[in-house]
Subunit: 699 residues, 2 copies
Amino acid sequence: MNLITIAIGLGLVAIIYGVFTSRQVLSSPSGSEKMQEIAAAIQEGAQAYLKRQYSTIAIVGVIVAVILFLTLGPISATGFIIGAVLSGVAGFIGMNISVRANVRTAAAAQKGLQDGLTLAFRAGAITGLLVAGLALLAIATFFWYLTAVAGHTVGEDDRTVVEGLTALAFGASLISIFARLGGGIFTKAADVGADLVGKVEAGIPEDDPRNPAVIADNVGDNVGDCAGMAADLFETYVVTVGATMVLTALLVKGLGGYLLTLMTLPLLIGGVCIVTSIIGTYFVRLGRGRNIMGAMYKGFLVTAVLSVPAIYGCIWFVQQGDLAAPVGDLGFRGLDLFWCALLGLVITGLIIWITEYYTGTNYRPVRSIAKASVTGHGTNVIQGLAISLEATALPTVVIVAGIIIAYQLAGLLGIAYAATAMLALAGMVVALDAYGPVTDNAGGIAEMAGLDDAVREKTDALDAVGNTTKAVTKGYAIGSAGLAALVLFAAYTTDLAEFFPELDVNFSLENPYVIVGLLLGALLPYLFGAMGMTAVGRAAGDVVVDVREQIREKPGIMTYEQKPDYARTVDLVTKAAIKEMIVPSLLPVLAPIAVYFVIGWVGGRANGFAALGALLLGVIVSGLFVALSMTSGGGAWDNAKKYIEDGNYGGKGSEAHKAAVTGDTVGDPYKDTAGPAVNPMIKITNIVALLLLAALAGG
Amino acid sequence: MNLITIAIGLGLVAIIYGVFTSRQVLSSPSGSEKMQEIAAAIQEGAQAYLKRQYSTIAIVGVIVAVILFLTLGPISATGFIIGAVLSGVAGFIGMNISVRANVRTAAAAQKGLQDGLTLAFRAGAITGLLVAGLALLAIATFFWYLTAVAGHTVGEDDRTVVEGLTALAFGASLISIFARLGGGIFTKAADVGADLVGKVEAGIPEDDPRNPAVIADNVGDNVGDCAGMAADLFETYVVTVGATMVLTALLVKGLGGYLLTLMTLPLLIGGVCIVTSIIGTYFVRLGRGRNIMGAMYKGFLVTAVLSVPAIYGCIWFVQQGDLAAPVGDLGFRGLDLFWCALLGLVITGLIIWITEYYTGTNYRPVRSIAKASVTGHGTNVIQGLAISLEATALPTVVIVAGIIIAYQLAGLLGIAYAATAMLALAGMVVALDAYGPVTDNAGGIAEMAGLDDAVREKTDALDAVGNTTKAVTKGYAIGSAGLAALVLFAAYTTDLAEFFPELDVNFSLENPYVIVGLLLGALLPYLFGAMGMTAVGRAAGDVVVDVREQIREKPGIMTYEQKPDYARTVDLVTKAAIKEMIVPSLLPVLAPIAVYFVIGWVGGRANGFAALGALLLGVIVSGLFVALSMTSGGGAWDNAKKYIEDGNYGGKGSEAHKAAVTGDTVGDPYKDTAGPAVNPMIKITNIVALLLLAALAGG
């Protein structure tokens, strides 16, 4: 059987798992009428938002597709559309599962913690495996069509396959940055706005039905933390696996049929890890200690351990049983590729462990923030910022070590395989993450429907773990993005040499245009972060104004005699988020083009390319730190608040708690808007540069 | 007359100005007995701190001097000691003027705003011109000794001069990072700690004599904002001018006597700008609009405008009247060097203007933070962080444009001359800055001595301008550091090629070890910032505990019946600051050495050097953004509070004001501890790399 066919088949397994498990989830009881009513409002809001978001993105998408069609031809345009549409579909399905599982999780939590965990995690696993499965199917079928049906070869003379895959990745990335940013602005504007008037001004608890922004807040969990995250990981998967295939095609010369096989290997690895991920999901069960995080890690560990022989098998199969045999003419053996993949798994594990350390309530960082809250708002924020800066150190050391080891083992392709192995676990990692918004919503529904405190306690326990798993996924996504971006950069330099062999591009740090490019690249994440933070602040301000107005117009809201107009707030946040996402999302698309032309005009074409290349690395170098510090810092602030709410330093209502709420508010746009959106941003910059190269070379 | 002699003479002019103006300042009335008593307590505390700080640094300094003596010989050790001692002297004198001018400014403000301004600004000008004068004298006399007395040539065969100048810069930088960080931790720990118990817990105003930490807070202004800043700018001056001379020696080959002349040109430019700075100080006078900032800018503008013909004259003189003649064999004319110097002045002006925009109360950024304070602590901090991220954009664009233009005009030496011209204005810029702590202290003394509210109003008006000028100096220092570091990097690569001609070091971005170096370099400012922030938080916590204890032990403090033990708090902060400054200060010294040896061991010697070089650029690229965002953001937070205190959004005591106080507290360690210390940190990393090269090459 053909290798691509196997990969496609394994992708379909994920879809089948998704359909099968969806039925299970949907068939479980959905609670009282009141709960269903609330859930329906959330669902309606989420769907309305996504509809408007996708309509807006569609306009940008059509324009870009037309440009690609005109510059690079129909295959690139098709690849772009496939990537864009499937990225949207991944987000859409994730959101749809999430808005249905929330109320069912609340209902299940009435029965017990294990029931709630099972339901919420299954919902997460559906999203996770559909993301991985759709991503794998997108690349595998497109690749299959190009090579087997349309008959393009993958060798030196035919660039169609490489450009098609790049365009596919571009489509996924472009949708993803809009979804991450739009969803991120929505969720945090609603969250911060609801907290500001609710908790701070009106003195009503979180998720209180009297707060007109409460439904918007719950909608936000679904469109930001679920749909946005799903689109983001879909993109990371497609770009990483796609970049590995592209780099293989660019590096390996003159191997004929074996090149095709080697290009299929990343797809195969992705495929077998879908199976190990599915097996892993069945191990997420509470043990005797009733440790929820432990249950999650059990599932992850099973997946990771099973993936080792599975990946070994893939390489063994591709190498026809001889791992000691050299891989083409590249100077390393099949076994080396296996070690690199194993390294990717180890990096994933280490990054999860480090993120857990920096964002979990059991360790120094979170506790130091909680302790600093005792002396006030200011010291809480100072300590939180200190932790967010510090949290970049260990992941950087891990990534640096990973780069060195992978490169020593198998050169650039080694780095690519480490990244691919990281992403192969995406099904499981996304499952851990997508579980978060479901439990968050379940808690909200339990509160609003007036369920027993015991139920809320269970959903809160489930939710606390969600804070850490959300931070973990972001650390994982940005870490893998760092490696994937290096692969993309390698593709850029290789492409450049191929397209413009006559140009002597000087990428040396001694070339001032390289320094200029590094500085401008490093600026992008800062500017992008500033725009994201400002957008959240502005939109949250609108929410505050709206909620105040509603409470003034209907004084009966506070006495439960009148019902707030939830839909009005949802609509307002929707409009604000859509408006605010456009400009920052276009920044990474237009910046590389602008830098190439401006520097090329001032310093000559070769320096234009040198500055552009340096810009790509500048974005990675600076973006890695901005994203890691924002996501870890935000998670730490959130859990410092939770730690105080658990009864430390005076507990809920104390001055320390108030300070911790401030820290949490600050961390919100850090960790859920600006930070995670840096991930697709880094890759868009790189992919745009690759497409620009192809366009300049004449398509 | 010999050119070096002229430069030395002009350096002495600065010293004469300092002595002359000191007499003027010291002869003015020093207020009531009560005021003198308070001033004496501040003076005592500041001297005690500096004494202990310098004793601690001396230990590190002696160790380093011995290492330099053993590896590079007596001349390098001597250079190091001169740089270190004079850097310390600059800080020491600045502090001593400042602690005497504060009470006299308070007394003068009783007479009128112009009197207060004149006295405070003169005090600042003394520090400013002594910093510039001492820095110029340090390099000029050492250079004169080496070339004219010891008879070393500056050509290819004798590296003594280059290594001596590098060691001199190292001495200045090493002291400067300790002084910046130790002083920064002291001032902000005392400030934050005093505010937390004073304003927040006990409900007493700032600078209230009942607060046991109030003297420590005022001591902090002198040891951090004055002594620390003076050492920092001394270092920036020495490194920039020194690096320009070193680069000239490395780039220009076989010109004989003319090389010596060309190497003296930066000294001459520094010298004439001392004269233009002195002239400028006499133009700092209130106009009819009584605009204090306007008075400051008048002085700066006069200096900048006069510097244009002065610098032109220097180049004309060195080029013997023919600016169209080529400079050696470097491929550009004398006129091009003049354009580069002019460019440096323009960059200085633009950075001042941008910083004013981001930190002044008249513009959008500060006002947006003030507005966000209305909705709470959280939104204040979010908007402040957004502004701090955004504030990096325009300075980066200016620096990038500067690099490109200077490089097009006169290559690497063009960049060096732009930086030198920037630093030539240091006398004036430091004057604007050192004025700040004097007025800050004057306000504190007025408050504690119970002077009229009208006096406090005047000192407050003077102080508000100080916030902006302090931010301006930091933006200026870090901007020039960016350029100077590029010059140092060029020296590194040139040196490397000379010392190890057989090594093929690949600085291309395509070399993974270069990427590794960039990532590790980018990490340093983050780690350093985290350490600085944590140190402030920890030390401030100690202050809070001490103040609470004192108030408990002596209940009469709050009713003015008992006097707090001010010295006890000063002593506590002193110990804490000294302890906390050691580890972060050694980070940039040890990191380059560690990276070279580890990467060299893993990837071979050439890759060790490549990674080290990339580390240097990584530190610059990331440090520039970290420092700019921290210093601008902190300044904006501070003035947003001031803007509210001026009666906007509810004024003092409103909820918005409380939120703004939180933002100000967060901004404190940002702008006065972590942010500015990044500046010497960047350069230490670079200089250590240069010395390491020399040591590896066998001294």
